[in-house]
């Protein structure tokens, strides 16, 4: 779609949407949101970018293949599930720091688990969409 309005808007929308997706990810533990939705929102940000600028431009902007995010996310989730075992607890027990961190709030293994889900969903959605776009 060759529209100046969309292209200009998407340049501003991309960082906004990504910020929003992180916001959704972080608030998930207390209010509606979470890694899954966050990942989808982040994917939408890039899909919008590719609509405005073309897929090649988005790929160049992303630099790495979106598929790379999948193993990163998967291992992040797996590690956060396994880490409690080293602390002598059973698989997937939530571990938490006692003091809340400004802005983010309490940090615990669940947050990293969510981050993993975020990456996987982001990677899966984008690589599927990009592959389909290129193939048709």
């Amino acid at each position: 779609m060759n529209s100046i309005i969309l292209r200009t808007a998407s340049n501003y929308l991309l960082p906004m949407l990504i910020l929003f997706s992180v916001f959704v990810l972080l608030r998930g533990h207390y209010e509606p949101g979470g890694g899954f939705v966050g990942g989808l929102v982040a994917a939408i940000a890039f899909v919008l970018h590719s609509f405005a600028h073309g897929l090649k431009e988005t790929r160049r902007f992303l630099r790495i293949h979106p598929g790379v995010f999948i193993p990163i996310g998967l291992s992040l989730s797996l590690i956060s599930a396994v880490v409690p075992m080293f602390a002598g607890q059973s698989l997937m027990t939530g571990l938490w720091f006692n003091e809340p961190v400004p802005v983010i709030g309490l940090i615990g293994s669940a947050l990293f688990f969510e981050l993993g889900v975020y990456f996987v969903v982001f990677g899966v959605t984008l690589s599927m969409l990009f592959t389909i776009t290129e193939s048709v």
């Binding site: 533990h29 939408i44 996310g73 998967l74 059973s90 997937m92 690589s127």
Partner: protein, 766 residues
């Protein structure tokens, strides 16, 4: 202990990254089994003193899965064999493998296998045992298919994996059944609950499953045929996995479960019949082989049959004989395999009709193989003699069956000693063919390992009492009477000595009279269509054909056909169950009154659906479909499911985008339906919609159990520090579900990517 067991897995990774390929570096991996051997040897005094050493590590205590390791006599015997023969095989393999660039991967697989095998024999938890059991199958798959460029080698690997993996699957069923009935997965606890297990109504089923696992792994008839195929692996692998250790995993399991499930007639007779038949069948088959490895493979199957037979007899004497024979067999068979490998390496042939006179170029190998063959035949002053004695003693004291069993074992033993002579003497005797005259002599690192094994066979033959403490500990672990006298070399002149003599002489006569020839092999090949192997391959082919037919029928590439198949099938299932449940009247009083919002959304949805049905533009249909989706999101919002609504919104958006992407590339709008098809579809969808609404009403009529949801609501903050209950369930309470879901997502993405990016030329499609 945990480190000792898992070190193999750790080093398997390390070997992959640090490529120890050049010069002496490639012998470094051999220190892994060596240090493990030393570690296990330090426990010898305690174990032979009758102690059972326990190591407990919790893994998933909530499910009763714990890494409990128990080192008793039986585990010790196997651990020493695994690490001891392992050390020799590592050294030998480093000298043997010519393709140095791949050697690090080889050691990686081998270490993985060793760790799995150690875990298998040491684990006290049946589920953990099962995990290691499967790991041995998988690592063996890689090792059998080592020569990836050979089709035969790949096929054998798949066949072995299919047979042992299938057996492992059944074993899992057996393990779960035993765990359920005995309410524990710990072997110790199950041994204590042995009486409960034996009296339970599903005892027969348990036996069937356990036998299926053990018989497939240990190559019992009719599952034996994967083992000769597995000889496509490099010789060190054959020596290690397929004669000394992995195939004995089934034996180990039977030994281990003897005190738990054994002692019943069904257990004993099944083992005796299957073991006895395998023994006879395989030793007879080994007569007709001309490939050195083929002879050894069939004689290994026969030896495994013999051990199963001995376990089946189930007396203290037979356990003792089995324990000694396991050690005897491991020593001589591994030595013979390694010698075969040296021959193969030097002259590139394993054909018994061609090999002769090799003693002139490899004397040490000839001596090692000769001693191993003598031990296999059971000549006095070899360990094999002691083993044979004990076997005859065990079979002769079986009461009613004594004569039959002794006769069976005698015949089989004669054939087996023939196989030993053939493998150990034939290639080295006679005149050296000219073609082999200028062959390079094998180095010390090649002939050293088999020579050491042969020397051990002799050593234990002269001093059998040295092996007694360990062997007696094995017997007591299997539930036999532990107070046994030491093994002795000389029992005096009696019937047993006569039988041993007959075995040795009979085998030797057979060796002098028979010459291996291709004609005999062809004779046996005529029976191939009736063999178990052909049956299994035919079965696999049949399954392939059926699934081909099914796939062509049901998955014909038209989306509308998929939809109709899925929906009709679901309808049949649902109607079948729902007919009995249809309520007489629906109680509307408990439901919330219909609000203005609901009506508006409903109108929106229904009109969107009508537009969708009658439009002839793709763009319109996609947009109306999206309207339906968004309307559902709005319903979620009104009824208090904001998380669900958010996700649905984004998914709907992305789906619309996806449709748009494809839309532009599609051919022009076509009308593919006629009136009849439309009416059919309308009827099916109307019924489906009706049934789903019915289910919704039924669900509302049922009194709900709120205990689970209340638990989540009450504990979300206290246990998981979250206020959003839905999210806490996703990431904490049911986090493993989420973990599996994202894995499924990953697989889906890989599927889409590879299917769309894969470009198969038409010649490759078949």
């Amino acid at each position: 202990m945990l480190i000792a067991v898992l070190s193999g897995i750790l080093f398997a990774l390390l070997f992959l990254f640090f490529r120890l390929q050049n010069g002496w570096l490639r012998f470094i991996p051999a220190f892994l089994p060596l240090s493990l051997l030393i570690y296990f040897s330090t426990w010898l005094p305690e174990v032979t003193g009758g102690q059972e050493i326990l190591f407990k590590y919790s893994w998933i205590p909530a499910m009763g899965v714990n890494l409990d390791f128990k080192l008793d006599g039986l585990a010790m015997l196997f651990s020493l064999m695994i690490t001891g023969i392992g050390t020799l095989v590592y050294i030998y393999a480093a000298a043997y493998l010519s393709d140095r660039s791949q050697i690090h991967k080889f050691f990686s697989c081998l270490s993985l296998f060793m760790a799995a095998m150690l875990g298998l024999v040491l684990s006290d938890n049946l589920l953990v045992l099962f995990i290691f059991w499967e790991l041995t199958s998988i690592s063996s798959f890689f090792l059998i298919g080592w020569n990836t460029k050979e089709e035969a080698s790949r096929k054998s690997a798949v066949l072995a994996l299919a047979i042992t993996g299938g057996g492992g699957f059944l074993l899992l069923a057996g393990v779960l059944l035993m765990g359920n009935v005995g309410s524990s997965y710990s072997i110790q606890a199950l041994t204590a609950a042995s009486a409960t297990l034996k009296q339970h109504s599903s005892y027969v089923l348990m036996l069937c499953f356990v036998f299926a696992g053990a018989f497939t792994k240990s190559a019992m008839f009719p599952f034996h045929f994967w083992l000769p195929g597995a000889m496509k692996a490099p010789t060190p692998v054959s020596a290690y996995l397929h004669s000394a250790t992995m195939v004995k995993a089934g034996i180990y399991l039977l030994f281990r479960l003897s005190p738990v499930l054994g002692g019943e007639p069904l257990w004993n007779y099944t083992l005796m019949i299957v073991g006895g038949f395998t023994l006879l069948y395989a030793s007879f088959q080994s007569l007709f082989r001309t490939d050195l490895k083929g002879v050894l493979a069939y004689s290994t199957i026969a030896a495994l049959g013999l051990i199963v037979l001995l376990i089946g007899i189930g007396t203290t004497e037979s356990f003792l004989a089995a324990a000694v024979f396991i050690l005897v067999h491991a020593l001589y068979k591994a030595a013979l395999f390694l010698c075969t490998g040296i021959i193969d390496h030097a002259v590139h042939s394993r054909d018994l009709t061609k090999l002769s006179g090799l003693r002139k170029i490899m004397m040490p190998v000839a001596i090692a193989a000769g001693i191993a063959a003598l031990s296999s035949a059971g000549i006095p002053f070899t360990f094999g003699f002691i083993g044979k004695d004990l076997i005859y003693e065990a079979t002769m004291h079986t009461g009613m069956l004594a004569i039959q069993l002794t006769g069976l074992v005698l015949v089989a033993n004669i054939l087996l000693s023939y196989a030993g002579y053939i493998a150990g003497f034939r290639p080295f005797a006679g005149a050296l063919p000219e073609a082999y005259a200028d062959t390079a002599k094998p180095g010390f690192l090649l002939w050293g390992p088999p020579a050491l094994l042969a020397v051990l066979s002799l050593f234990f033959g002269f001093f059998p009492a040295l092996s007694s403490p360990l062997v007696n500990a094995v017997v007591s672990a299997a539930g036999g009477n532990p107070a046994l006298p030491d093994l002795k070399l000389w029992h005096g002149f009696n019937l047993i000595l006569l039988l041993s003599g007959v075995t040795v002489v009979g085998g030797f006569l057979l060796y002098l009279l028979r010459k291996p020839a291709d004609s005999q092999l062809q004779f046996m090949d005529r029976f191939e269509p009736f063999s178990a192997r052909s049956f299994f391959l035919g079965l696999a082919e049949g399954i392939k054909k059926i699934s081909h037919y099914f796939t062509c029928k049901l998955q014909n590439g038209y989306l509308r056909n998929y939809m109709i198949t899925i929906i009709s099938f679901l309808l049949i299932l649902l109607c079948w169950k729902l007919v009995k449940l249809i309520p007489n009247s629906i109680d509307f009083s408990t439901m919330t009154p219909v609000s203005m919002y609901d009506v508006v959304i409903l109108v929106m949805m229904v009109s969107a659906i009508f537009v969708l049905m009658f439009t002839s533009s793709r763009l319109t249909s996609i947009i109306s479909l999206s309207i339906v989706g968004y309307s559902i999101c709005l319903l979620f919002v009104f009824y208090g499911a904001p998380d669900l609504a958010m996700t649905q919104f984004t998914i709907d958006t992305l789906t619309a985008v996806l449709f748009m992407l494809i839309l532009l590339k599609l051919p022009p709008f076509l009308t593919l339906t006629n009136k009849a098809i439309k009416i059919r579809d309308a009827i099916i969808s109307a019924i489906f919609g009706g049934v789903i609404s019915m289910i919704a009403f039924l669900v509302l009529q049922e009194p709900t159990h709120k205990t689970i949801s209340r638990f989540y609501a009450d504990n979300a903050y206290s246990l998981a520090k979250g206020k959003n209950v839905v999210n806490v369930i996703l990431v904490d309470f049911r986090g493993s579900d989420t973990l599996i879901e994202i894995t499924v997502l990953t697989i889906a993405a890989l599927g889409v990517y590879s299917m769309l990016k894969l470009k198969i030329s038409s010649s490759e499609k078949e």
